[in-house]
């Protein structure tokens, strides 16, 4: 794909070369060695002259030569070939791919392309084929483990789930820690607006980058640190993900239709381990309506389950464990993914157009998602001096799912986990006709039938999303280019959430304990988001002398974000099953929120190139932000970087086989970030419950503002090297970085006795340092034999909170036990919560009744982000077959598992049966003596061995639900067969391939994690991570994919 990306650059270079008349014509075709396809845009130059030409769309060239000329064929990404013409009139050449390409360009800030060699910072480009290796429906999932420094988290196994990215740790308390996402030069949103701010009634609603069709992607460049992205300003302190779409820049490409179709199956991957010894009840006594398993041993005798119905009928079941009852609840999810693209161009214009359709059904019954995308882009050279290009992408998502998370009546997975061990959930599917499955007869006295919950409480979303940009370039002089680009990202999400009004137990006569009735509700919402971005760039190029050349870019940027969230709620409904606001009982409640921010900026970017081996780049940017007070609105920040190509500068190394390439780089950058909208002035909220009828009341908000808020800054140092050995058989990239973020704009939690619960202030410093290493290997490569490529990447980030605010040492990010928090001296973020009291040597202290004692103060329970991330991708080809796979390993972090908490509560995990529900001596515990010393406890047993211990004592301590989050995943696997060319001869197909793909095929977790896929997380893309609350389990995917071009 490299060759296509760079074709336009070649044209530019060649258009200034004059062609002199010669006396003989030589023709020929240039093809690529790897696939035999013609290469358009290859430069063909007569050695020792300035005359030359380039190949056309079919790879053909024609050139006039005189005498015994020598032709040089050059193309970016390929080794140059020199041919003596001799007496031949036809010269066919095939060019071989090189891994090392000094003229390869990388798209950096504001659509500026720079040669990779000149970059003084870490940047990794992931190409189309690698992203779509396992046919992900979400572009970001396709990036997992494919570049060093990249940490990708998927939240759940639902349909269209959100994917969260972070680079080099987190650097902000109150603002997003996600990198900036840029599509074709336009910053876009990756927001994820959750339907609820609490853990109940949640839906994984996906995030906006997930709307992009992965097949439309040309490449993704990961700029790991603020250094690379300094020109983006505010949002770039977390790095940048630069997405280049197939946008029709590929002139002289033959007209082509490409088609990709895949079908895949999703299966629930990791489910908790269950105990099969005890059934429902309390204290060893059977209880027919009990959701928890603290009853007697399961012995197979017949028992009544659930209430007796009004007609006297009873549901009799064997009192034996239904081992796979939870697993049986889940369906096999299905994904159909079809896309077709049309592209082509001549030397003046090009276009790309595509359509895609993704249809998913989830592992939770009735969960459905459908996404259609349409894309049209094109570019044209209007005259010698103008170029124009445009890009429009539209998609519609339709999401229809049930709710998850939380412990209320609507959390489907939670209801499944609350089915007792002797319950065969599948028998309760037909709740409309089976009286024992309906609200009156379902066995559980406290939770609804999950099938009833999922069918009657629904989340519906219809999202329209438009990404569009247009760019005009003008080259009035050889040394000046003027480019203007305007882009927008608009999405409108119309949502309807419906909750059924249910009365339980109308006809049950005994026992009467039934779940609490629900009033039903309807929530109509509309979320509108828009980003508008305008860039004006003036690029000056000047060769000062034969050693020095310079490029200077002046940039003006205008950036506006607009968000409007509306919702109307019927808090109860009159007629069950009729979900319209008109069916409301009581008043409708509504809310309206608008957020508008604006920023304009000026920046300069100077690159000095010394003999093509030493590059210096310096930038300076000035932002004016609407979210700061007029006196603080304007702020400046610089960056500088140096790139030195050792192998180019030292003649002895130039053609060395041992060290084929060596680059050293260093950089410094500072990036400023503004505040959130409306953070400067105190405001009033409607008082709780107000207005009561005509009576209004307002209350001062509990956030105390600082009208003098300053921008926050991140400064960053980075050193790195890129080395290549043994003619590129082995490569090593190494980066060391350190960032310091200071004066972070923070919502500092205040003691409420100040009158406020938080204050928005400049407070808090975080340091991050780490290394990113990639080892690339190509031990074998032959055109027809075996080729093997691999990349091992390693990422380690060490963060430290160095200041929170004044004397305070802890800043909770949200609420709960545990709560993610920023704590001075600790990694950011850590989970902070309750744990058992210990004697200082790790022995738990038990009280006089034998129960462990809860530590009166909260403690740090572990860090949220992994300490070490290792990715290992492999690709082995033989003839037309390619087998690729990616392993992903993370370790050093923890996660709080709400699923584990629920399973201890219900007594469903083997943890609760290890002492056969009897009081036991807490292992390695101690007793505190009167003098403060400790004596090992060998005899004193816990007060209880059942629910009163496991729930009332054990589960009251957050630390007991903390799980080691380490994992090893076989992330993506694909076995592809490329049909040979001769087989396709005579067919309309240019290329065709078929592939078996899979993702998340294998998962290894530590023995202690019997509960969840640790990649699970609280919903969305916000900073409050590290907790899982009965999330839908993750899935493994198997698929079949067919691709063809014609």
């Amino acid at each position: 794909m490299k060759k296509l990306l760079l074709a336009s650059l070649c044209i530019l270079l060649l258009s200034i070369t004059q062609v002199f008349a010669q006396n003989r014509t030589v023709t020929g075709t240039v093809t690529a060695k790897d696939d035999g396809l013609p290469l358009p845009g290859v430069s063909v130059i007569v050695k020792g002259t300035t005359s030359g030409t380039q190949t056309n769309a079919n790879g053909k060239f024609s050139i006039s030569v005189s005498g015994n000329a020598v032709l040089i064929f050059r193309f970016i990404g390929y080794a140059p070939v020199t041919k003596e013409v001799g007496t031949s009139e036809v010269i066919n050449v095939s060019l071989a791919n090189t891994s090392r390409d000094l003229t390869e360009v990388v798209v950096t800030a504001a659509g500026i392309t720079r040669s990779a060699a000149s970059l003084g910072v870490a940047a990794n480009t992931i190409k189309a084929g690698e992203i779509t290796q396992a046919n992900p429906t979400n572009l970001l999932s396709g990036l997992s483990a494919k570049a060093p420094g990249l940490q990708i988290g998927r939240s759940t196994g639902g349909v269209n789930t959100a994917v969260r990215i972070s680079l080099r740790g987190q650097r902000s308390f109150s603002k997003s820690s996600e990198p900036i996402f840029v599509i074709d030069g336009v910053p876009v949103s990756n927001s994820s607006i959750q339907p609820s701010t609490t853990s109940g009634n949640q839906v994984d609603v996906g995030s906006r980058i997930g709307d992009v069709n992965p097949e439309d992607i040309e490449s993704v460049t990961v700029l790991n640190g603020p250094n690379a992205a300094a020109l983006y300003g505010s949002l770039a302190s977390n790095g940048a993900i630069i997405i280049t779409t197939k946008n029709g820049k590929n002139r002289n490409k033959k007209y082509e239709v490409s088609f990709s179709s895949s079908f895949g199956l999703d299966k629930v991957q990791k489910l908790p381990t269950f105990q099969n010894q005890y059934g429902s009840g309390y204290n060893g006594e059977y209880d027919q309506i009990e959701n928890t398993n603290w009853g007697p041993e399961l012995d197979g005798h017949m028992v009544q389950s659930g209430p007796t119905l009004a007609d006297g009928s009873k549901n009799m079941i064997p009192f034996s464990a239904v081992k796979d009852n939870v697993k049986d609840f889940f369906n096999t999810g299905k994904t159909w993914n079809n896309s077709v693209a049309f592209s082509g161009g001549n030397d003046k214009s090009s276009f790309y157009s595509s359509f895609s359709d993704v249809e998913q059904s989830g592992v939770i019954p009735m969960d459905k998602f459908r996404r259609n995308t349409v894309k049209l882009s094109g570019s044209a050279q209007l005259s010698n001096k103008f170029t124009i290009s445009g890009n429009i992408q539209y998609n519609r998502n339709i999401t229809r799912t049930s709710f998850q998370g939380g412990t209320g009546a609507t959390g489907v997975y939670n209801a499944v986990l609350n089915s007792s061990r002797q319950i065969n959930i599948e028998n309760f599917k037909d709740w409309r006709h089976n009286p024992f499955a309906g609200p009156d007869g379902y066995f559980d006295g406290y939770y609804p039938n999950p099938y009833y919950a999922l069918e009657n409480n629904r989340f519906n979303s219809m999202l329209d999303h438009l990404l569009g940009s247009m760019q005009v370039g003008y080259d009035p002089f050889k040394w000046l280019n003027i480019t203007y680009r305007l882009g927008t990202d608009v999405s409108i999400d119309n949502r309807k959430q419906t909750f059924e009004r249910t009365t339980y137990g109308l006809t049950a006569i005994s026992p009467t304990q039934r779940p609490g009735s629900t009033t039903g509700s309807v929530i109509e919402g509309s979320n509108y988001e828009r980003i508008l971005n305008s860039d004006l760039l003036l690029t000056f190029k000047k060769d000062l002398n034969k050693d020095f050349s310079t490029t200077f870019i002046l940039l003006n940027n205008i950036y506006e974000t607009n968000q409007r969230l509306l919702s109307t709620t019927a808090n109860a409904i009159a007629i069950p099953g009729f979900f319209n606001l008109s069916n409301a009982v009581g008043q409708l409640s509504g809310s309206e929120q608008t957020f508008l921010t604006r920023r304009y900026s000026f920046a300069g970017d100077l690159t000095v190139d010394f003999r093509k081996y030493l590059y210096l780049n310096a930038t300076l940017r000035n932002d004016h932000s609407s979210t700061l007070a007029p006196s603080n609105r304007s702020y400046w920040y610089p960056s500088a970087s140096l790139s030195y190509l050792l192998t180019e500068s030292i003649p002895e190394l130039k053609n060395s086989d041992a060290l084929s390439f060596a680059k050293l780089r260093a950089s410094y950058a500072k990036v400023g970030n503004n505040a959130n909208a409306y953070s400067l002035l105190p405001t009033f909220n409607p008082g709780s419950g107000y207005p009561y009828g005509s009576a209004a009341s307002f209350s001062l908000t509990n956030t105390y503002p600082d009208p003098n808020l300053q921008p926050e800054f991140t400064s960053s140092y980075e050193l790195g090297t890129e080395l290549s050995f043994l003619r590129d058989k082995l490569g090593l990239d190494f980066t060391w970085y350190q960032t310091k973020s200071s004066n972070l704009i923070t919502n500092v939690a205040l003691a409420s006795s100040t009158g406020y619960t938080q204050a928005t202030l400049n407070a808090g410093d975080i340091k991050n340092k780490g290394v990113e290493i990639a080892l690339r290997g190509k031990p074998f490569s032959s055109a027809n034999g075996v080729s093997w490529n691999f990349t091992v990447s390693y990422t380690h980030n060490d963060s430290k909170v160095t200041r929170v605010y004044q004397d305070s040492k802890i800043l909770p990010l949200g609420t709960g036990d545990p709560v993610p928090a920023a704590i001075v001296g600790q990694q950011y973020p850590v989970l902070y919560g309750s744990k058992f009291l210990t004697d200082g040597q790790g022995h738990v202290v038990v009280g006089a009744n034998g129960n462990p004692i809860k530590d009166p103060s909260n403690q740090v329970l572990g860090q949220v982000n992994p300490k070490h991330i290792i990715g290992f991708s492999n690709s082995i080809s033989y003839k037309g077959f390619t087998l690729s796979g990616t392993l992903d390993y993370r370790t050093g972090n923890v996660i709080y598992s709400g699923t584990m908490n629920t399973l201890i509560f219900t007594g469903s995990t083997p943890l609760t049966t290890q002492y056969n529900r009897q009081p036991f001596v807490f292992p390695n515990s101690v007793i505190k003596n009167a003098d403060g010393s400790y004596t090992p406890n060998t005899t004193l047993k816990t007060a209880d061995g059942g629910f009163d211990y496991w729930y009332s004592v054990y589960n009251q301590v957050a630390a007991n639900n903390i799980v080691d989050a380490a994992f090893l995943k076989l992330r993506d696997v694909s076995l592809e067969y490329q049909l040979p060319k001769n087989l396709l001869k005579g067919t309309p197909f240019g290329r065709a391939s078929v592939a078996l793909t899979g993702s998340n095929i294998l998962l290894w977790t530590p023995k202690s994690n019997q509960y969840i896929d640790p990649e699970a997380n609280a919903f969305g893309t916000n900073n409050s991570q590290g907790r899982e609350i009965s999330n839908t389990p993750s899935t493994r995917y198997f698929g079949l994919n067919i691709r063809a071009t014609f």
Partner: protein, 499 residues
């Protein structure tokens, strides 16, 4: 693309960036608009979660054994997180906004009076629940980010001063501005009556503050001076309750209905099912043939053939016959059904009954004139008002007293000596506060030890001790840790809790 042009051109204008005024929330308000919500927050705490807390700790209510709603209260495992929200509601949502009213009143003296009296009310609840609390340094936003804790005794002095200042600010002159709708306690009355109610409220509050600390060490001079100032004062004869207009609308239920009541469509909430009558109070009322039994508790739902009242042994384990539906729910006079307008129950701040029992105690202790004879009258009125607030009548109360002539906890004249008189007063006050203001009952239980026999929960993990205060909340531990006193909730009593 036209929009873009507009953006580009307007960037030259100065106001392009002046878009940072929130369109979502107003940045100005008035004291009249701020006062109602500030008072409502106090009522919500005292009648909502604190009411539940007090009723759980004084043997009135218990958790249905098959529910897990009150684990901290049932195990006495009260943690910094348990009442974190309530602390915040008092300081940030009530007291701060009352301070806004005081600071921005602009000569509206009656608003200042109400705000100061309500601040006194809030601070007393805070000091009674937590002991030493921020007072002088409190409510100063980021100017004092770590407010120092003042001794509960000096908070009490501050409360008396707030009451005195509040009363002094009452203005019923012809030119005075009537709070009217801004006053959600007495605002429906004409100005003179309204402010007279506030004066009585202030006096009764002062009486409560003085009685509470009357036996504390080294408080004699303050108590004596305080009572001297109450000489000839008039006290509440009606229930003082806040009511912003509670309605059957989402978010507009009365606090008790929100806490343990019903849904918008009138169905039982899980909280209703989880909250049951406590065996101690149910048996106490049944044994003394108290007609209030059927008002304070509902019959057992599972037995439909007759009205059976059965309380839960707090902390007991679920078993057949000992589940929610086998036990008496909270009564129809406390949390009325939707059809009976339960959502509109006002939030009682100080009940008339409490006012009379306070006066009775002040008289038997000799702080107010009238002596034991006067106390007997106030005692009877207290019982009558208790019956009335539950929807019964004074006559029914008198009949109950007559029938209980042999019981010294009913017949005040049978109580001999100060101790027995106090026990009768406090025991009757405990019944009168059942479901109305459980927190006040818990304070009085801690101060006096009555009602006698209030049981520990079976599930207590405190070595047989009642908690005597609340642990300091998490937000203070996190944000003001250096100042938060180190206390033990089982042994470090509030200063007025002397035995």
């Amino acid at each position: 693309m036209a929009a873009a042009l507009a953006i580009t051109t307007s960037s030259c204008e100065k106001n392009f960036l002046d878009v940072n005024t929130s369109p979502n929330n107003p940045s100005t308000s008035t004291p009249e608009l701020v006062l109602p919500s500030a008072v409502n927050f106090a009522g919500s705490q005292v009648n909502g979660s604190f009411n539940v807390l007090g009723n759980l700790l004084t043997g009135n209510w218990g958790q249905a054994p098959d529910f897990l709603f009150y684990l901290p209260q049932e195990t006495y495992n009260l943690t910094p997180g348990t009442y974190d929200t309530q602390w915040t509601n008092f300081y940030a949502n009530s007291l701060k906004n009352l301070q806004y009213v005081i600071d921005n009143a602009n000569g509206k003296k009656n608003l200042v009076a109400i705000a100061k009296i309500m601040q006194a009310y809030d601070f007393q609840v805070l000091a009674d629940a937590w002991g030493d609390i921020p007072f002088n340094d409190a409510l100063k936003n980021t100017k004092v980010i770590a407010p120092k804790y003042d001794a509960a005794t000096s908070v009490y002095d501050g409360i008396i001063k707030l009451i005195d200042d509040g009363v002094a600010s009452i203005d019923v002159s012809a030119t005075a501005i009537r709070p009217a709708a801004a006053d959600i306690v007495f605002g429906s009355s004409a100005l003179i009556a309204e402010m007279d109610f506030w004066k009585r409220f202030a006096n009764t509050l002062k009486l409560r503050v003085l009685i509470r600390q009357s036996r504390a060490t080294n408080r004699t001079s303050q108590v004596t001076a305080g009572f001297a100032s109450l000489s000839g004062a008039s006290f509440l004869e009606t229930n003082a309750a806040s009511n912003p207009g509670y309605a059957n609308q989402s978010g507009q239920f009365s606090p008790i209905y929100t806490s343990i009541g019903f849904t918008l469509t009138g169905a039982q909430t899980s909280n209703y099912q989880a909250t049951r009558g406590n065996k101690f109070a149910v048996d106490f009322l049944a044994n003394s043939s108290d007609p209030r039994l059927t008002l304070l508790y509902r019959p057992v739902p599972n037995i439909t053939t007759s009205n059976v009242y059965k309380g839960v042994i707090a902390g007991s384990t679920a078993a057949s016959g000992n589940r929610s539906a086998d036990l008496s729910p909270v009564g129809a006079s406390i949390v009325k059904a939707s059809a009976d307008g339960g959502y509109a129950t006002p939030a009682y701040l100080i009940s008339a009954s409490e006012s009379y029992f306070l006066q009775a105690e002040a008289q038997v202790r000799g702080y107010l004139t009238g002596g034991v004879a006067g106390a007997a009258i106030n005692y009877q009125k207290g019982v009558e008002e208790s019956f009335k607030v539950l929807g019964s009548t004074a006559n029914a109360a008198d009949a109950y007293i007559t029938a209980g002539a042999a019981n010294r906890l009913i017949n005040f004249n049978l109580a001999v000596g100060l101790n027995q008189q106090i026990e009768a007063i406090i025991t009757q006050k405990w019944i009168a506060l059942n479901g109305i203001n459980g927190f006040e009952a818990w304070c009085e239980f801690r101060r006096t030890g009555y009602p006698t026999g209030n049981p520990l929960t079976q599930n207590q993990q405190s070595g047989g001790k009642f908690p005597v205060r609340l642990p300091y909340p998490q937000n203070e531990v996190n944000g003001n840790g250096a100042n938060v006193p180190k206390i033990d909730i089982f042994n470090n009593r509030i200063f007025w809790d002397v035995d």
